[in-house]
């Protein structure tokens, strides 16, 4: 594997010398996400999928270290074998999914609100800079405040600060027990319930609300110790879903394979807890009401203004022809954009990596 890494370093250094830019690629399953790649031929691919393999895994330390090109499926299978898992339930889009792509996009699944953001679980990274040198930030320990937390900055960076070469993650034990309840609730009632449960000591690990003919349905998953799960179920009520059905349902959300996700364009809207219905009539809610998937045609500026007023942000997750040129991510406040651009310039001075993937200004 060392020769694969030095090959990547050489490719990066050579691209810089030749004035080419590089588009970093893991398995290519997340390329749809973010701003479109430049269509001219000034960019070459940097294929990270060849740099793969789990480097270290000690279940009792709750830490796993793997190379960026390691298939996500392999990582999760190894964890599963030891009764552990990735806390943020990342989506799987295909066999090509890599750990590096997963961290660079920071997409999380149904467990996100209970688990926290993907960046909560990164302990260390290795990052390649434009001359091919590999830098190491953080490490393989749970508590580490030496230097700035560059590792967390890289989570969700869309590769604009350079290729992740290796990551160390905090992993968690699988819950001992898990059940799903279904409640017939309209949108406003569902949102109110989800908000109320935040301040209750209940192990809610996922929620999903979908409209149906009679108003709507809220599915609630509880995960944890048997006794806590049962106490929570008694408080929430509703109808118990069969385990196979429940698993299939949550997987269809995690992997965005549910029919709802076929709509184009598809917006991904993030809102503070307790935010009211957006009133579009065609929404799927996850994350205790904080993630709203929105189908149908919306004027990007108007939607974003409305969402901002509620304290959230909207990304254009899947485009269609009409919105092909719209930026994917919610625009940043000018002062924040200024600092972000300077960070990009400081850490990738030649603008070598993933031009425009995060913002056209990058």
């Amino acid at each position: 594997m060392e020769s694969v890494l030095s090959g990547l370093s050489e490719q990066v250094a050579a691209a810089r010398a030749a004035g080419h830019r590089l588009v970093i690629r893991g398995g290519g399953t997340r390329l749809f996400y973010g701003d479109p790649l430049p269509e001219d031929d000034s960019c070459a691919w940097l294929d990270m999928s060849t740099y793969r393999g789990i480097v270290d895994y000690e279940p009792a330390e709750l830490v796993l270290t793997a190379r960026a090109g390691t298939p996500l499926a392999e990582v999760e299978a190894v964890l599963d074998g030891a009764g552990q898992m990735l806390a943020f339930e990342p989506p799987r889009f295909g066999p090509g999914d890599t750990l590096g792509g997963c961290m660079a996009t920071a997409l999380a699944g149904p467990r996100r609100m209970a688990a926290g953001p993907v960046s909560d679980y990164i302990l260390g990274t290795r990052l390649m800079r434009a001359d091919g040198e590999v830098m190491r930030f953080g490490g393989e320990v749970m508590k580490n405040v030496a230097g700035y937390d560059v590792s967390r900055l890289l989570v969700g960076s869309m590769g604009v600060l350079g290729p992740l070469v290796e990551v160390s993650l905090k992993v968690v034990p699988r819950p001992r027990s898990e059940i799903t309840l279904a409640l017939a609730l309209d949108e406003a009632e569902a949102l109110r319930s989800c908000t109320r449960w935040r301040s209750r000591p209940m192990p809610v690990s996922a929620t999903a609300w979908l409209p149906d003919g009679s108003g709507g349905r809220l599915n609630v998953r509880l995960s944890g110790n048997e006794s806590a799960v049962h106490a929570g179920a008694a408080e929430i009520g509703g109808e118990l879903l069969e385990p196979e059905k429940a698993d299939a349902f949550w997987l269809s959300l995690r992997d965005q394979a549910h029919g709802f996700f076929r709509q184009r364009p598809l917006w991904r809207v993030m809102l503070p807890p307790g935010a009211p219905p957006l009133g579009s009539g065609r929404e799927l809610h996850e994350w205790q009401g904080c993630l709203r998937w929105l189908g149908g045609t919306h004027d990007p500026a108007a939607l974003r203004a409305k969402v901002r007023e509620l304290g959230g942000w909207a990304s254009l997750y899947h485009r269609d022809g009409a919105l092909a040129a719209s930026p994917a991510f919610h625009p940043l406040a000018p002062a924040v954009m200024r600092v972000q651009r300077r960070l990009k310039q400081q850490l990738d001075p030649g603008g070598l990596f993933n031009p425009r993937r995060l913002y056209p200004e990058f």
Binding site: A60, L153, S199, N225, A228, W313, A335
Partner: protein, 498 residues
Amino acid sequence: MTPATANAVATFPAPDLAGFLASIRGALPAECILACEDQTRAYECDGLPLFRELPPVVVLPEDEPQLIAVLNACRAHHVPIVPRGAGTSLSGGATPHPQGVVIGMAKFNRILGLDPERAIAIVQPGVRNLAISEAAAPHGLYYAPDPSSQIACSIGGNVAENAGGVHCLKYGLTVHNVLGLRIVTIEGEVLELGGEAPDAPGLNLLPFFVGSEGMLGMVTAVTVKLLPRPELARVIMASFASVEQAGEAVTRVIAAGVIPAGLELMDQRAVRLVEPFVHAGYDLDAAAILLCESDGTAEEVAGETSRVAAIMAAAGAIRVQVSASEEERLRFWAGRKNAFAAAGRISPDYYCMDGTIPRRHLARVLGAIADMEKTHGLACSNVFHAGDGNLHPLILFDANEPDEVERARAFGAAVLELCVEVGGTITGEHGVGIEKVDQMCFQFSRAELDAFAAAKRAFDPYGLLNPLKVIPTLARCAEYGRMHVHRGELSFPNIPRF
């Protein structure tokens, strides 16, 4: 001035303190500007009095516009800034700059909002950590990170240091419990990082800012997540005849899928240090004792404590006791929580270190520290956040004895280097500050240190925010390298490094 600060000061344009004072006089009430020695003396050090520096000026802004006026004046007159919360830093993060201003944030002391239903609070940075939990308590909520200094330290300081506490194994560090920050940059601009909605767009500045030790901006508001207070908590106290066995018990608890609310280890010297003061009932003959807390509903706690007690017994515990009442639980904890205070009572001075190691190296590291006691001629007791590998050796010394300060520092430096050698880090929660700048040369390559400096420039192009801290200069690492084995010759060649 210590020799270390002397050479770095020279690289900044000369500050114009008179001009600075003249330009802020109109912007802040007179009582918020302290410039005579009897007023500024109180700010000469933080929780690490090994480093002292009398600040020429201290300002105590009352609100954001005043703070912005101060920052603008600092920029105009090249005046270096040291932000200060409650001054409890154990790494000299708030040690003043000899030619700069200390900006004390104590007057930013209001809770701006607390929403019990949504379990979110917005507080100013000068609010004390414990005050947040106290305000949330009537609603059955609390703020989880609980550094031992929680009655004194400020949430702004917690953000700057990414502070932890005995419950962070289960509930996370500051970074895991902060949802949003409002900061003012050196350019006088207000930035909102993160927010109440999840996953803010753009580069992930929120967790990057947490732990940045006052070097990237001034925090003016913090949005924190509150948690429902668990119904019940119980602590198991287990004694072991060897540190290895205690370490093995920790490994088995976690391997069994239990994440306890707290999991702490004290070695024999620490136990003997605290027991006479707290009468916790610790086993004075044990080589190590473990405290393991379970919290949740009554059923959860009952289930978890019986599983953990069985694991401890199987791992060779010589005594296992579960707290039978809240009073007893607090008594079991009292020794751990007062370890520093007890050290202060038996020794004129103590120096608290803060390395993290992969837990599997615990016994080895404690063995090596015992050897170092002989080499440096000083005693050391160890308390350990065993669940997450964060080690706090307490080196006991007497600053009035010739060369004991130097020996304590050398001992401390050796412990930190050992942590790095076994794959850990020089600081788990106290920060690098001014104290561990040299050891940064040991843990990081030049490329990595350059990346830190580059990131700092993105926020602070003028290099005015808490200069001299965290990031060593090239010259300083060269000096350090001459005196120490470089990491190319580390004793753990199997840990890949570039």
